[in-house]
């Protein structure tokens, strides 16, 4: 039987298979082969975890160029985004703080990813985050509104009418209101920022999914690590790009003081959410065992912390 929580993609695949079965029995052979081909194509190749790390060594290097080169190294955005896809980006723009304070995702990184998606033929690129501070202020202050304006991406204003109750099938979480753009997306790219957190130790890629749901979010902290893994299992992004161009080392996740900001000039791109978080945790001097949700993610097979076992590349500017 199933020994791990069912993910969003798996359930979609199941639905696909079931509907394929129904069509098959109806005897419509032409379309059926197509459906089956799609189902096969959408399956991840097992064990193909990889990671690209970007480092900006030159002073005044271009963050956008670095991001582009990393995707090139990973095989180009076209490998992940198909023509006509609706791509939803999940930055961390939850706090109304200026981007240099390392509380939110670097807007330059956002712009680079949006442009890559558009070049790959995405039908629509959306930026979505159920923010903690007032969404309008978050969009303005974090630079997300500017990024959307420059690129023509859609900035989705979170509201209660866009939260649909969905069963997450988690270990701890069942029915929760989920921010619908993520459910309706063809491709999801997670672009978190790396910073410290009072309870979960760090907030990286997997924890970013707290911004993908609504409802009584503050109650999640009563079992934070399992909740994070449940959410990460449900949303399971196609790619994770962790922004560590600058990281917040104290007074997170809200920050507000440049004295707590450390400039790292690094970015991590991976298809394995656990691996990406593991690498980012190293920047804070933390091992996977010290960060509860990374350890749990390992345990539940959401990904692997064993960085030596995967194809790793680095891009230096």
């Amino acid at each position: 039987m199933i020994d791990h929580p069912i993910t969003r993609r798996e359930s979609l695949q199941k639905i696909g298979k079931i509907s394929a079965g129904i069509t098959l029995s109806a005897g419509l052979f032409g379309p059926v082969t197509k459906v089956l081909a799609n189902v096969a194509a959408s399956k991840d190749k097992p064990g193909a975890a990889w990671m690209v790390e970007g480092v900006g060594e030159q002073p005044g290097y271009c963050v956008k160029t670095l991001t582009r080169k990393m995707f090139d190294a990973a095989g180009g955005m076209g490998k992940f985004v198909s023509k006509g896809d609706v791509v939803v980006l999940k930055p961390n723009i939850s706090w109304a703080q200026a981007p240099h304070l390392a509380v939110t995702t670097n807007p330059e990184v956002m712009i680079a990813v949006i442009e890559l998606c558009q070049e790959a033929g995405a039908k629509k690129v959306r930026i979505a985050d159920n923010t903690i501070h007032d969404a309008g202020r978050c969009f303005s202050v974090t630079g997300a509104a500017g990024a959307a304006e420059k690129t023509g991406a859609d900035l989705v204003h979170p509201r209660s009418s866009m939260m649909k109750k969905i069963n997450l099938h988690g270990h701890r979480l069942d029915v929760w209101p989920v921010f619908t753009p993520f459910v309706e997306a063809d491709k999801i790219i997670n672009i978190p920022v790396a910073k410290v957190h009072g309870l979960s130790v760090l907030t990286l890629g997997m924890k970013n999914w707290i911004g993908g749901v609504g409802g009584r979010r503050s109650a999640l902290h009563q079992d934070i690590h399992q909740s994070i893994v449940d959410l990460a299992q449900f949303f399971r992004p196609h790619l994770t790009l962790i922004d560590a161009t600058r990281i917040l080392t104290a007074n997170g996740p809200s920050g507000g003081n440049v004295a707590d900001v450390k400039i790292l000039n690094r970015l991590i791109l991976s298809n394995d959410p656990v691996a990406a978080d593991t690498r980012a945790a190293e920047f804070f001097g933390k091992t996977p065992e010290e960060v509860g949700f990374i350890a749990l993610g390992n345990k539940w097979g959401l990904g692997s912390s064993d960085l030596d076992q995967m194809r790793r590349q680095s891009v230096v500017l």
Binding site: P99, S140, H221, A250, N251, G256, V258
Partner: protein, 551 residues
């Protein structure tokens, strides 16, 4: 012919100012999707640390949303009397007052958006038949009530309580529309469009999405919450309904601004000239008179009541009425406000401020629940200026600022108070400080608010309800959201040992009062429903010397 043209100018002017008022009312909110230039926040040299922290600019509303308050002579006069200070930005109010000396209540007829609303409510398909209308439009003794209110407001202002905003037409209208009519209409629209969007029919779907996209910029993406808005709304409906019984009931009977303008009409240059020999006493002038100012020849014209609507001169079939300019000896008769209104108003005006101070809230016993917006003046000065207009409540992006019912005592009825269960004061937000028309909330920059810091109160933990403290679960939500840096909430590590279960490691939260600014986000986000485990009170607010906890 000439009069008809004047009538249309009046109508156009009314329409223009009413639309302007409405547009500015809608604009009084956080501007949508302002894209800020963040490039300089990255480029400032690293050693200039403090300037880097505050490198991003404050978000402001670019439209003059306080305009109508600043052209309102009653707001200006009462605030100047009570604050004993010359207020900035009220040039138009003074200009209108001076023009009124010669031309009468043209403000009521041409500009006042509340007057326009009453005009429409009373004149569009009137409920009264001709005879009834003529009876309703007779100059009535009840007109003196407004003088009573005016005298009470002005003398109370001089003694130290400014409650002009409760009756000022601009404040009344802004409060009613901004805190009751617009938010409740928003609820209706949201529901309707959501109902359409949930439909199975494609076209209705698109209509729902389209409607939502149109409604959101006006009503906001979420329904606004105003727990006491129903009182404001019902009052507004009653005042509007009274127009069906007596046209422009408010303007004739209650409006203190109308009373002030009527009183100021000292040197009438523009006067109604009656030709008694032409009049056939058909009554059309009385039937359409908005101010009940006795336009009919044979009666004495009441210039203080005349709203300059030009209905009488335009409607007269015999050309027996005309407004004409007359200079020279133009003294008019004394305003008939009645001795009772004068004396009663003064008695009320002197006693209300004193009664309002009985609760001791403005000085010795500050109310713990009275958390004022950041930048608010000390309580007595605040009450000198606050017009209870609701502008700060309308613009607050988190919906925290609410009209007070009892938190501020009788003197502070409907003044702004922060209710943390509904919203919180966002750390880097200074929007409310930038809109207050009278400076009861003074302008703050984000930098001043954070660096000073401007405190609006302080938080305390209810250990009996707090999850780690009462041994129910680990939780750090208050600390997580605490916006100060370093954080005002810190932990002590502990372990809960519950009977029959594994020991749970918890972090027990403490509030560092020297760092807490009272923003209330901890109370707002606390997962303990019903009564949050961390709550905010006004003690510790920067604006008071006495309402403090620490040395």
């Amino acid at each position: 012919m000439k009069s008809r043209r004047l009538l249309w100018i009046r109508r156009l002017s009314q329409a223009f100012f009413f639309c302007l008022f409405f547009v500015l009312l809608v604009m009084a909110q956080l501007p949508k999707d302002v894209s800020m230039d963040y490039s300089q926040t990255f480029s400032v040299p690293e050693n200039a640390e403090t300037s880097r922290t505050f490198a991003s600019p404050d978000i402001r509303i670019s439209q003059p949303v306080a305009l109508f308050f600043q052209i309102d002579p009653l707001i200006w006069l009462s605030s100047v009397l009570s604050a004993r200070e010359w207020l900035q930005g009220f040039g138009w109010a003074i200009a209108i007052l001076l023009t009124t000396v010669f031309f009468g209540r043209f403000f009521c007829g041409f500009i006042c958006p509340f007057g326009t609303l009453h005009h429409m409510a009373g004149a569009v398909r009137p409920a009264l038949k001709k005879k009834e209308m003529m009876a309703a439009n007779q100059t009535a003794g009840s007109r003196r009530i407004k003088y009573f209110l005016l005298i009470a407001i002005l003398s109370a202002s001089a003694v130290g309580l400014n409650f002009a905003g409760l009756f000022d037409p601009i404040s009344f209208l802004f409060r009613s529309l901004g805190l009751a009519a617009l938010p409740s209409a928003g609820i209706g629209f949201h529901d309707f469009f959501e109902f359409l969007a949930a439909s199975d029919i494609k076209i209705l779907n698109y209509l729902g999405y389209g409607g939502e996209a149109l409604a959101a910029p006006v009503f906001g993406y979420e329904n606004k919450v105003v727990p006491t808005g129903w009182i404001i709304g019902i009052l507004f409906l009653i005042i509007l309904f009274l127009n069906r019984i007596r046209p422009r009931f408010w303007c004739r009977t209650l409006c203190p601004l109308g009373a002030l303008l009527g009183l100021c009409f000292r040197l009438p240059v523009l006067r109604l000239k009656k030709k008694a020999d032409k009049c056939t006493h058909c009554g059309r002038c009385v039937q359409t008179c908005q101010g009940a100012a006795s336009p009919e020849p044979g009666t004495i014209w009441q210039p203080d009541e005349c709203l300059m609507c030009f209905n009488c001169t335009t409607g007269c079939p015999e050309n027996a009425l005309a407004f004409s300019f007359k200079t020279g000896d133009a003294r008019k008769q004394k305003t008939d406000m009645g001795r009772r209104a004068l004396i009663g108003g003064m008695v009320a005006g002197v006693s209300l401020p004193l009664l309002g101070r009985l609760d001791g809230r403005s000085d010795r016993h500050p109310s713990p629940s009275l958390i004022r917006p950041p930048g608010s003046l000390p309580e007595p000065e605040f009450l000198d200026r606050c017009q209870r207009c609701g502008l700060c409540m309308k613009v607050c992006p988190t919906n925290a600022i609410q009209p007070a019912l009892s938190a501020a005592g009788m003197a502070g009825f409907w003044t702004p108070v922060l209710v943390m269960s509904l919203g919180y004061c966002e750390y880097s937000c200074t929007l409310c400080t930038s809109v207050c028309p009278t400076g009861a909330i003074r302008l703050l920059s984000m930098r001043e608010k954070i660096e000073t810091p401007i405190r609006i109160g302080s938080a305390y933990i209810d250990r009996g309800r707090c999850l780690p403290w009462n041994g129910n679960a680990p939780c750090i939500v208050c600390e997580e959201h605490c916006p100060t840096s370093p954080k005002a909430i810190y932990f002590k590590e502990d372990v809960i040992t519950r009977k029959g279960s594994e020991p749970i490691p918890v972090q027990l939260p403490f509030v560092d009062l020297s760092r807490c600014v009272g923003c209330g986000i901890c109370e707002n986000k606390c997962p303990v429903k019903g009564k949050p485990a961390i709550r905010t009170i006004s003690a510790g607010e920067s604006r008071s010397l006495d309402n403090q906890i620490l040395l």
